[in-house]
C-alpha cells in the first residue's frame, strides 16, 4: 500500500503497539522491553544444572529481580543459557510456593514448627538411639548450606546417617575418581570441549541435558570427530560423526573391547603408563578376554562401526572422554566409569588440553555436595575415622572435636532399607522429591509411610514428597538466598539474593540456624553466622586437600574472576580462566599414580524375557525440564516446550507388531507396577526398547531398585517391561 491511510483508519501506533516498544538498555544489555528496564544488574550462577551458567539479573529500583539475561562476560556460558536458565526466576513466583510451616498440612508458626521438629526427632533418638534418625538432602542448595546441614545434623543433633539425591546422579563418578585418582577430582575445564580432535560421549546427551556445554563443542575449530556411545539415537548422536548404538548396559563390555583393541594394536602410551599409573599389566591381561571379534556380538555394535570408532580414537591427538547418567546410573557403574578412565590413562589422554576422562555432573551443586556435604566423607573429603582429620575440622569449624562423627553414613538406599528393618524411624528430607525421583517408587512410598516422623523442607508444599510430610518447613529458593555453587569443571560461583521469599519462608541456611538454636547447639555454630562466614570456614576445611581453596579471598574475588576453579591454594598466582588437573601426571593417590581398576561385567538384575520382553530406558525429556519438574513445570513457557502428557518412544517395528500409532495410549507394566503413556513411534530407540522421560511422576513406579556395589547409585537405565495398546 503506497498511500498511508490516516491513523484513525489504520492504527500503526497506539497503546498496544507501545506495550512492545523496546528501548536501549544499560549494562550492555541491548534493547529491552520498556516495562522491564533494569535499574541495576546483579550477577548470579544458575541454580539448575551443573553447567553453572552466569546470569545477569535485572533489578528494579527496589532491588528486586524483574528479568534476567545470560552473562556474556562469564567464561562458562559466554552469554548463553538454556530455557531453564532463561526462566530461572519464574518458578519463584509460582502460586503454590510454601509460605508457612505446616504440621500435617495445618499452617503453624516457626516456633511451633521448631518445637515439633526437636521434640519428635529427639524423642525418637532418645528411644531408639542416634542412628534412628537420618537426613536426605540435595545437590540444589549452596555449599555453605550443605556444610551447615551436614555439621548440624551430625555434630549438632547427633545423627549418624545422611545422604542426598546426589546419590542418584554423581555418586558413581565420585567413587570412580576417588579410587582411580586418589581424590574425587574431575580433571577438565570446558575449554577441553573446544580443543579436542576426538570427543567420545558415553551415556551422555549434552545437546539436551547440557546444551550450554554443547555450545563449546560447536565452537571447536578443529572439525573434531564426535563419537557417541548410547543405545538411543539422541540429538547428540545425530550431531555426532559416529554413533555406536549399543545394547543397553553393554557399555562395560564395549569399553573393554576398545581397550583390548588399543593394546593389541599397540596404541598404548607406554611412557605415560609406566611413569604415572599402576595396574596396567593386570588390566592388559584382564582385557585379553575382550577380543572384539569374540565379544562384540554381546554389545550390539557391528565390527565395522567399532573399528571405525576405535581407529578414530587411536588416531586422535587430543581425545577427551565424557560421560553422564548413562554410565553413572548402572548396576556396574563405577567399573564402567573406570573403564573410561582406563582408556584415557592408557592412551595418555589426560592432563593435556582437549583430553581427559571427564564426568559431566548433573546438579548445580553436586560438586559442592561431593566436597562439603559431610555425608560419605567428613567435611572437605576428610576421613571420619581419622582423629587428626576430626581435630582439623573441629578447629576449622569451631565445633567441639568430641562432637565430630566418627563413622560414615549409610547410603540413600540403605537408609530406606533401614526404615524397613526399623533401624531408621525419623527422616528429614531437604530440597529433593524422593517420592517422584527415587527408584522403585511404590516401595519408597510404603517405607515413608512406616516412618514415625517425616520432615520435608522445600520451596513447594505440593511436591509428591511434601504431601507425605508430617512437618513441612518452607524454604526460600535459588535467587532468594546467597551462597556458592561448584560446577562440573570445579568452578566456584556465587549466587545472590535478588528476590524476596514469600510468606515466612526462610533460606535453608537460616532454617539450619533456627534448628541449631532450637536443638540447643547454637554455641557450637557461633562462627556459622552467614553464608560468607561459612565460606571462610570451608576454605580452612579445604586447606592442604586437593580441593584447597584457601587462595580465594572471598565472594568478591570469585565474582571478579568470573568464578574460580578449585584448587587455588593460598599463595597461588592469580588464577587463569581455564585450568585442568594432572598436567604433570601426578595424581592424588599416596604414590601419585593413577590406578587401573576393573572387574568382569555382570548380568543385569532384570533382563528382558518372554513375559516382560521390553527394556525400559529412562532419562531426560527435554532441555526445558528439570528433575521432577517441581520448578520447571511452574513456567508456562517451559511447559510449551515439552509434551503435556507422558510420552513413550517406541520403535516402528514394535509399534507395527503391537498395532500402535502415534498418540495411542500404551499400558506399560513392569513386575512392580503398571502405568499409561502416549506412544510416539520413532526409530530413536531400538527394537525391544522403550524410552520414558524421568520427569513423569509415574515412571519410577516401573523401575527396579538395583545399585552399583561401590557407589550405591541406582540403575535407572534398565528394567524389563511389557507393553500393550491401552
Amino acid at each position: 500500500m503506497s498511500i498511508r491511510l490516516p491513523s484513525i483508519i489504520r492504527a500503526f501506533d497506539g497503546p498496544m503497539t507501545r506495550e512492545l516498544v523496546l528501548s536501549p538498555g544499560d549494562f550492555g544489555l541491548g534493547k529491552m522491553p520498556q516495562n522491564a528496564q533494569p535499574v541495576a544488574v546483579a550477577r548470579s550462577i544458575c541454580g539448575f544444572c551443573s553447567t553453572g551458567c552466569g546470569l545477569k539479573i535485572h533489578l528494579d529500583a527496589s532491588g528486586e529481580a524483574v528479568s534476567l539475561t545470560p552473562d556474556p562476560a562469564y567464561p562458562v556460558n559466554l552469554g548463553m543459557a538454556c530455557p531453564k536458565g532463561w526462566e530461572a526466576l519464574t518458578p519463584l513466583a509460582a502460586s503454590d510456593r510454601a509460605t508457612t510451616p505446616l504440621i500435617n498440612g495445618r499452617p503453624v508458626e516457626w516456633p511451633e514448627a521448631m518445637d515439633e521438629f526437636t521434640t519428635r526427632f529427639r524423642g525418637i533418638m532418645d528411644r531408639h538411639g542416634a542412628e534412628s534418625c537420618a537426613f536426605l538432602s540435595t545437590g540444589q542448595i549452596m555449599s555453605e548450606e550443605m556444610a551447615f546441614l551436614g555439621m548440624l545434623a551430625k555434630a549438632g543433633m547427633g545423627m549418624v546417617h545422611g545422604d542426598a539425591n546426589t546419590r542418584q546422579c554423581m555418586a558413581t563418578s565420585a567413587v570412580a575418581y576417588k579410587q582411580s585418582f586418589g581424590f574425587d577430582a574431575p580433571p577438565f575445564t570446558y575449554e577441553d570441549f573446544e580443543v579436542s580432535d576426538v570427543l567420545v560421549f558415553i551415556g551422555a546427551n549434552p545437546c539436551i541435558a547440557h546444551p550450554i556445554m554443547w555450545q563449546r563443542v560447536e565452537r571447536n575449530p578443529f572439525h573434531p570427530e564426535i563419537i557417541v556411545i548410547d543405545p538411543r539415537k539422541t540429538e547428540t548422536a545425530v550431531a555426532a560423526t559416529q554413533h555406536l548404538a549399543l545394547a543397553p548396559k553393554a557399555d562395560l563390555t564395549l569399553l573393554y573391547c576398545l581397550a583390548h583393541w588399543l593394546i593389541r594394536e599397540g596404541f598404548v602410551e607406554r611412557a605415560f603408563v609406566e611413569a604415572h599409573t599402576t595396574g596396567f599389566d593386570d588390566f592388559a591381561e584382564f582385557v585379553k578376554d575382550f577380543a572384539p571379534e569374540v565379544r562384540l556380538a554381546e554389545t550390539g555394535v557391528s565390527v565395522e562401526v567399532f573399528e571405525k570408532a576405535v581407529r578414530t580414537i587411536s588416531a586422535g591427538k587430543r581425545v577427551s572422554f565424557w560421560w553422564t547418567m548413562g554410565v553413572n546410573q548402572s548396576h556396574e557403574a563405577v567399573r564402567t566409569a573406570q573403564a573410561i578412565i582406563n582408556l584415557a590413562l592408557m592412551t595418555g589422554n589426560i592432563g593435556r588440553p582437549g583430553t581427559g576422562a571427564n564426568s559431566i555432573t548433573g546438579q548445580c551443586n553436586a560438586m559442592g555436595s561431593r566436597l562439603f556435604s559431610n555425608t560419605t566423607s567428613l567435611l572437605g573429603c576428610h576421613d571420619f575415622t581419622k582423629q587428626e582429620h576430626r581435630a582439623k575440622i573441629a578447629a576449622a569449624t569451631g565445633i567441639s572435636e568430641e562432637r565430630m562423627p566418627t563413622v560414615g553414613s549409610l547410603a540413600y538406599d540403605q537408609i530406606l532399607a533401614g526404615i524397613e528393618t526399623g533401624q531408621i524411624r525419623g527422616l528429614w528430607m531437604i530440597g529433593t522429591n524422593g517420592a517422584h525421583s527415587w527408584i522403585e517408587q511404590e516401595r519408597f512410598r510404603e517405607l515413608i509411610q512406616k516412618l514415625e516422623f517425616f520432615v520435608v523442607q522445600d520451596m513447594y508444599p505440593t511436591t509428591e514428597t511434601a504431601q507425605m510430610a508430617d512437618l513441612f518447613l518452607p524454604a526460600a529458593g535459588w535467587g532468594e538466598k546467597e551462597g556458592t555453587f561448584i560446577n562440573s569443571e570445579r568452578r566456584i560461583g556465587v549466587s545472590h539474593k535478588v528476590c524476596r521469599a514469600p510468606g515466612v519462608a526462610l533460606a535453608d541456611f537460616h532454617i539450619f540456624q533456627l534448628i541449631a538454636e532450637a536443638w540447643g547447639v547454637r554455641d557450637e555454630f557461633t562462627r556459622w553466622s552467614s553464608p560468607e562466614a561459612v565460606f571462610q570456614i570451608l576454605k580452612e576445611v579445604s586447606r592442604g586437600q586437593p580441593c584447597d581453596i584457601t587462595g580465594i579471598r572471598d565472594y568478591e574475588m570469585i565474582e571478579a574472576h568470573g568464578g574460580i576453579q578449585w584448587p587455588l591454594a593460598e599463595g597461588s598466582e592469580q588464577p587463569e580462566a581455564h585450568r585442568r588437573l594432572f598436567a604433570d601426571g601426578t595424581f592424588f593417590t599416596p604414590d601419585g599414580r593413577a590406578r587401573f581398576l576393573f572387574d568382569p561385567p555382570r548380568p543385569v538384575a532384570e533382563p528382558a524375557d518372554a513375559e516382560y520382553p521390553f527394556i525400559l530406558l529412562t532419562g531426560r525429556g527435554t532441555s526445558a525440564q528439570w528433575h521432577t519438574g517441581s520448578r520447571t513445570s511452574k513456567s508456562a513457557i517451559l511447559r510449551k516446550l515439552y509434551p503435556d502428557t507422558l510420552c513413550a518412544d517406541l520403535h516402528p517395528e514394535d509399534a507395527g507388531r503391537l498395532g500402535v500409532r502415534d498418540g495411542d495410549a500404551l499400558q506399560i507394566t513392569s513386575r512392580r507396577a503398571g502405568i499409561t503413556a502416549t506412544a510416539r513411534v520413532a526409530a530413536v530407540v531400538q527394537p525391544g526398547q522403550i524410552y520414558l522421560p524421568m520427569h513423569g511422576a509415574e515412571v519410577n513406579r516401573l523401575t527396579k531398585l538395583d545399585v552399583d556395589p561401590h557407589s550405591r547409585q541406582p540403575s535407572y537405565k534398565h528394567c524389563a517391561v511389557q507393553i500393550r495398546r491401552g
Partner: protein, 513 residues
C-alpha cells in the same frame, strides 16, 4: 529474656534478613560496566550489514546442522520481547527419519515473513503491513479486531491469539533491534548460532515446501530458508505425525454460520414463494440479526470492527462482512416494505454472503475445507434450514398447502443428499491414506465418533418427523426443524474440529483456551 521470647526475636531477625535483598547486590555485584557485551558484537556475522535492495528482503535462515534442540530461542523470544507468561513467537517442532538410519532434527520456526502473506491477505482491517524495504510482515496491534482469521489463514500457525488483549500478536523479526544493528532475540540466544537474518531475493514462485511435512510454499511464498550441509533423509517426516487431535471448535463461528445461512435460506424461500413473505421475512431478519450479533461478539476488539471494509480487495472475510451488511439492509427494506422485488434482492445478496462465507474457509486452503465440500455444506445448510424452518412456520401459522408439501420434500431431499455426500467423502478419505483430507477423516472417525453418531441420529429423526408432519401433525414439523438445526450446528462444529490445520513439522497444536 526467656527462651521462647529469645527464639521469637531470632525468627523475627531472620525474617527481616530474608526480606532484605539489596545486601550482596549493593555491595559488589551491581554492574555498571557498559563497555562490553552489547547485543550487537557477537552477532555481526548473523545479521545483514546492509539494507535489502530492490526485489530483496530480510529473511530468517536456520542452519539445521547447528540446531541441536535446546529451544533457548523460544524462551529468549518470550523474555527479551517482554511477552506474556505463555507467549512466545517462536516454536519448535521435530522431524524424524527411519527406521533404517534413524534421524532426529529439531525445527525452530517463527514467522516466515512471506512474500505473499496469507495473514495480511485475509485480514479484514489491514492489520498487517509488509514493509516495502525489509519485507518484514508486521502486525498492527492497535488495528487488530481479534477476529483470528489470520490464524486460520496462516499455514504455519504463526499468529497467536492473545486472550488478555483480545488481539493477535506475532513475530516482527525484532525489527526494532535490527534497525539498531542488534540481532533479534532468537538469533542472540542460540548457543550454536543456528539462526541468522539474511538478505534474500523476494520469492515470486516456488515449488515444494520449507521442510518435509510443511505446507506447499506456493501458497504464501515464505522466505525462511532451512539449510543443511547434508541432504535431509528421504523418509523424513514430522515427529509423532500420526498423532491426531481435534482442532478448536469455534462455537461462535459455528452459530454465526448456521444462523446466517438459515436466514439466507429463509429469504430464498420467501423470494420463490411470495405468499410466505409475511412469515419468513421477519423471522429471517431476526435470525440474521442474531447471527451477526454472535459474529461481532466473538471479536476480541468489537469496537474496532467498523474498519472491516478496509480489506475488501483481498480479504474474503472483509467481503463476507460487507455482504452481510448488504443482506441485512436489503432484508430490512424488504420486511419494511413487503415488496417482492426487495425480497428477491435480499435473497440474492443473502446467497452471495453464503458464498463469501464459504470462500472465507476455502481461502485458508485447509484440505478438508476444499471448495466443493464447503460450498455444498454451506449452501446445503442454507437450503435445508430455510426449507425446514419454512415448513415449521407454515405448519403453525400458515396452511398445509402445496408449498408446505414442496418444502417438506425439498428439505428431505437436501438433507439426505447432504448426509450421504458427507458419508461418502468420509469413507473415501479414510480409505485413501494419501488423501489430503485423510487426517481430517481420522479426526472425525477416531476422535469425534460420538458426535458423528449423534448427528446421524438427528438426521434420521429430522427426516422421519418431517415426512410424518405431512399427515397434518404440525408438532412434527417443529421437531424436524429443531433436529435439523441441531444436526447442522453439529455439522459445523465437526467442520471446525476436523479442519486439520497445517503446521510446521512436529510443532504441537497450541493448547485450546
Amino acid at each position: 529474656m526467656s527462651t521462647v521470647e529469645h527464639r521469637r526475636s531470632r525468627i523475627d531477625d531472620l525474617l527481616r534478613a530474608q526480606r532484605q535483598i539489596m545486601t550482596a547486590a549493593e555491595r559488589f555485584s551491581k554492574w555498571h560496566d557498559r563497555s562490553h557485551g552489547t547485543a550487537g558484537e557477537r552477532y555481526e556475522h548473523l545479521i545483514p550489514l546492509t539494507r535489502p535492495g530492490a526485489g530483496e528482503q530480510f529473511a530468517f535462515e536456520v542452519n539445521l546442522d547447528q540446531c541441536t534442540g535446546c529451544k533457548a530461542c523460544v524462551t529468549a523470544c518470550h523474555s527479551l520481547n517482554g511477552l506474556d507468561d505463555e507467549e512466545s513467537w517462536r516454536d519448535t517442532g521435530m522431524l524424524t527419519g527411519g527406521p533404517g538410519d534413524p534421524w532426529l532434527q529439531t525445527v525452530t520456526t517463527a514467522c516466515h515473513h512471506c512474500a505473499d502473506p496469507a495473514c495480511a491477505n485475509g485480514c479484514p482491517v489491514l492489520a498487517y503491513e509488509k514493509n516495502a524495504e525489509t519485507g518484514i510482515v508486521r502486525h498492527l496491534d492497535d488495528q487488530c479486531i481479534g477476529c483470528s482469521y489470520c490464524i486460520l489463514k496462516c499455514p504455519y500457525d504463526v499468529p497467536k491469539y492473545n486472550k488478555k488483549r483480545g488481539i493477535v500478536r506475532k513475530c516482527d523479526m525484532c525489527q526494532q533491534r535490527l534497525s539498531a544493528g542488534e540481532a533479534p532475540a532468537c538469533v542472540q540466544a542460540c548457543p550454536n548460532e543456528a539462526i541468522a537474518i539474511r538478505i534474500v531475493k523476494t520469492p515470486t514462485n516456488v515449488t515444494g515446501g520449507l521442510l518435509p511435512g510443511a505446507f506447499p510454499s506456493n501458497y504464501t511464498l515464505p522466505t525462511t530458508r532451512y539449510i543443511s550441509a547434508k541432504p535431509l533423509p528421504e523418509n523424513a517426516r514430522p515427529f509423532a505425525h500420526d498423532e491426531i487431535e481435534p482442532e478448536h471448535e469455534h462455537p461462535p463461528l459455528a452459530w454465526m454460520l448456521v444462523l446466517t445461512q438459515m436466514a439466507a435460506g429463509l429469504f430464498f424461500c420467501a423470494a420463490i414463494a411470495p405468499s410466505l413473505v409475511r412469515l419468513a421475512g421477519p423471522v429471517g431478519l431476526g435470525i440474521l440479526a442474531l447471527g451477526l450479533m454472535v459474529s461481532v461478539g466473538h471479536l476480541g476488539q468489537p469496537l474496532r470492527a467498523w474498519r472491516c471494509f478496509l480489506g475488501w480487495r483481498k480479504s474474503w472475510l472483509s467481503r463476507e462482512i460487507l455482504a452481510f451488511g448488504g443482506f441485512f439492509q436489503a432484508g430490512a427494506a424488504a420486511v419494511w416494505t413487503g415488496w417482492p422485488a426487495l425480497y428477491q434482492l435480499a435473497a440474492v445478496i443473502g446467497m452471495s454472503s453464503v458464498f463469501c462465507s464459504a470462500m472465507v474457509y476455502i481461502d485458508t486452503r485447509r484440505p478438508s475445507w476444499a471448495a466443493r465440500r464447503t460450498h455444498v455444506k454451506f449452501f446445503g445448510t442454507a437450503l435445508l434450514l430455510g426449507s425446514t424452518m419454512t415448513t415449521a412456520l407454515l405448519a403453525f401459522f400458515g396452511d398445509l398447502s402445496a408449498w408446505f408439501i414442496a418444502f417438506t420434500a425439498a428439505a428431505a431431499v437436501v438433507r439426505t443428499v447432504l448426509y450421504f455426500a458427507e458419508r461418502r467423502d468420509l469413507r473415501r478419505d479414510l480409505a485413501d491414506t494419501s488423501s489430503d483430507s485423510h487426517r481430517s477423516a481420522r479426526i472425525l472417525k477416531e476422535k469425534l465418533g460420538d458426535m458423528l453418531r449423534l448427528r446421524a441420529g438427528l438426521i434420521w429423526i429430522a427426516t422421519i418427523s418431517g415426512l410424518l408432519a405431512l399427515a397434518n401433525l404440525p408438532m412434527l414439523a417443529l421437531v424436524s426443524f429443531l433436529t435439523t438445526f441441531a444436526a447442522q450446528l453439529l455439522e459445523r462444529r465437526l467442520f471446525f474440529m476436523s479442519g486439520a490445520a497445517p503446521r510446521m513439522p512436529g510443532v504441537p497444536m497450541p493448547v485450546h483456551e
